[in-house]
């Protein structure tokens, strides 16, 4: 059973937010690994090879856009779907996120069913 579990990397600097997302994802039988800043997230993404990444945009050390771009321009990781979570709603940010290769974009406070639906859609 455990082999079938999909692994999701959550990069989020708000601890409580991270725990809530972890609980939700684990309840939906995903394996969750986490990082609390952009740099750690990037190295986790490279070493753990998750099936999908959920991340905030405003992160310490390296922002979400940069992490996203680093992964999407790397042959080895460019197929890993990325969902951006953010408190920012500016249209410009959405456009920039898409430009950097993010596959989906959710605005806080997001609905958990939306997040789950997006994850399901992006993990084949």
């Amino acid at each position: 059973m455990t082999e079938l579990k999909r692994r999701i990397l959550v990069i989020e600097d708000e601890k409580e937010m991270l725990e809530a997302v972890r609980l939700r994802l684990e309840a939906n039988s995903y394996e969750v690994i986490s990082a609390s800043d952009g740099a750690e997230g990037l190295s986790q993404a490279r070493s753990e090879k998750p099936d999908l990444i959920v991340m905030d945009i405003m992160l310490p050390k390296m922002d979400g856009f940069t992490v996203c771009r680093m992964l999407k321009f790397d042959e080895n990781y460019k197929n890993t779907p990325i969902i951006m979570l953010t408190a920012r709603t500016q249209e410009m940010d959405v456009a920039r996120g898409k430009e950097m290769g993010a596959d989906a974009y959710l605005t806080k406070p997001f609905k958990s069913e939306e997040l789950l639906a997006k994850i399901k859609e992006l993990i084949k």
Binding site: A20, R24, A27, A87, T89, P109
Partner: protein, 448 residues
């Protein structure tokens, strides 16, 4: 200060413009005098001193013209000095004219008065003192003329030639006092008027400056407000999402059994968190719309299909109250518009209609072609809006019904979005007979 400089610039341009007219008038005078000289030449009368006068006026006028057309950046006082110098030339020419056209009996001394008036025009604040300069110069030249005639330095022209020495002396004396007093009386009057004018101008200038200062301050405050709203709503989002997610985790039984009663309370909590998020969105949007920082992505868009989508999205809410939505959405009606924003307008209008219509009521959504515009309306058979309240419907934070949930921002956002599309939105309503909200946006170049 910028504003002061700007004001001076305007004043300089004004004086320059008036000087140009002066130059034109002198050319005209020279032009008119030339045929007279030709005429006297034909009649074998040597024009002599007349020709000299015309050449003098033509000469300094040409100089004035050249100086005027050279692009020099002059200060206000420099422009005033230049102008005054040429006015002194005018006084000299006038004096010469008086001398050769009958001297004591010459009617031309009124030209001095004209010059004093002219020097008063276009001169404001302390520069209006130039009227006294011209009056003094006029008096000086005129008295000089009389003196030279009296001493025999210049030959006497005109009928005074026949006067006896006593009569001549008395005449010169009377004339000198009379004209000099006239000049200064005149200059005083003109000075008074120009002072009056310049005082108004100064007051206006001060008021203007105050207003501009107040405007800047208001702009700063407005910017601060927008920044505050934007930061506040961003900062509020993260804690709000943590609360929402945790409530929803408990509600869904992820962390343990929840009974029906508890579940009900949790779902009410979650719904209200969503409402709060909605209000935050609206606040952010209204501040973006008002600061004009919302960017529209206008494309040829089928308004009918947007209305359809909005109806689909609102179907659950309407069904819950057993409200039926009648639609009249004919063939594609294309206008240049931002689809997402127009969708929000429809959703807001339909949401309002659902809110205010009683159970099993009716809502009508209609889109129609109105020539150069596309017209869309949402009508309900709710309680309607009292006539006294109609003008305030689209205002911010306006809510007439305390019972109904809402931020009171929905309609002002609609108005903002429609106005950004260069359209209009309005409401027709009668108390007890429902309301009809209509908007019309231009088709633009959508049909090219």
């Amino acid at each position: 200060m910028d504003y002061r400089e700007n004001e001076n610039r305007l004043l300089i341009d004004d004086i320059k413009e008036k000087c140009l007219w002066g130059i034109r008038v002198r050319y005209l005078i020279v032009g008119l005098a030339l045929p007279l000289i030709v005429f006297s030449l034909v009649n074998k009368n040597p024009p002599g001193i007349y020709l000299g006068l015309v050449l003098f006026v033509g000469g300094y006028n040409a100089l004035a013209h050249v100086l005027h057309s050279i692009k020099m950046k002059l200060d206000l006082w420099q422009v005033v000095v230049f102008r005054s110098v040429f006015q002194v030339f005018d006084v000299a020419a006038t004096t010469l004219l008086i001398y050769i056209t009958g001297w004591l009996e010459s009617p031309y001394w009124f030209l001095y008065l004209v010059l004093i008036i002219l020097s008063g025009f276009g001169m404001f604040s302390y520069y209006s003192l130039s009227v006294f300069l011209i009056a003094s110069v006029s008096a000086l030249f005129y008295l000089g003329l009389l003196w030279s005639a009296y001493t025999g330095f210049l030959p006497v022209y005109g009928p005074s030639f026949t006067l006896s020495p006593e009569e001549l002396l008395r005449s010169i004396f009377n004339k000198a006092i009379f004209t000099t007093v006239s000049f200064f009386l005149f200059a005083g009057t003109i000075y008074y008027f120009s002072k009056l004018l310049s005082q108004h101008r100064e007051e206006l200038y001060k008021k203007n400056e105050q207003l501009l200062g107040a405007l800047e301050e208001l702009k700063d405050i407005d910017l601060l407000k927008d920044e505050f709203i934007s930061t506040a709503s961003h900062e509020l989002r993260t804690p709000l999402s943590i609360v929402r997610e945790n409530v929803s985790l408990i509600e869904d039984g992820v962390v343990g059994e929840v009974d029906a009663k508890q579940k009900k309370l949790l779902s009410v909590s979650r719904e209200n968190i969503d409402r709060l998020a909605g209000i935050l969105d609206n606040l952010l949007d209204i501040s973006k719309i008002e600061s004009r920082s919302l960017e529209l992505n206008c494309q040829p868009t089928d308004i009918s299909s947007i209305a359809k989508r909005a109806i689909e999205l609102m179907a659950d809410k309407a069904n819950y109250k057993k409200i039926s939505i009648e639609e009249r959405l004919p063939e594609p009606l294309i206008a240049r518009a931002d689809a997402d924003q127009i969708l929000r307008v429809f959703i807001n209008l339909i949401d309002n209609a659902v809110k205010y219509t009683q159970r099993e009521g009716k809502i009508g959504v209609e889109v129609e072609d109105a020539g150069a515009r596309i017209k869309a309306s949402v009508r309900d058979n709710g309680p309607g809006i009292a006539e006294a309240n109609l003008p305030r419907v689209f205002g911010r934070f306006v809510r007439f019904d305390i019972e109904t949930k809402g931020s009171g921002l929905g309609l002002s956002i609609c108005k903002g979005i429609i106005e950004m599309h260069h359209g209009k939105i309005w409401v027709e309503s009668k108390s007890g007979q429902g309301s009809k909200f209509t908007f019309a946006i231009p088709k633009g170049e959508a049909n090219d």
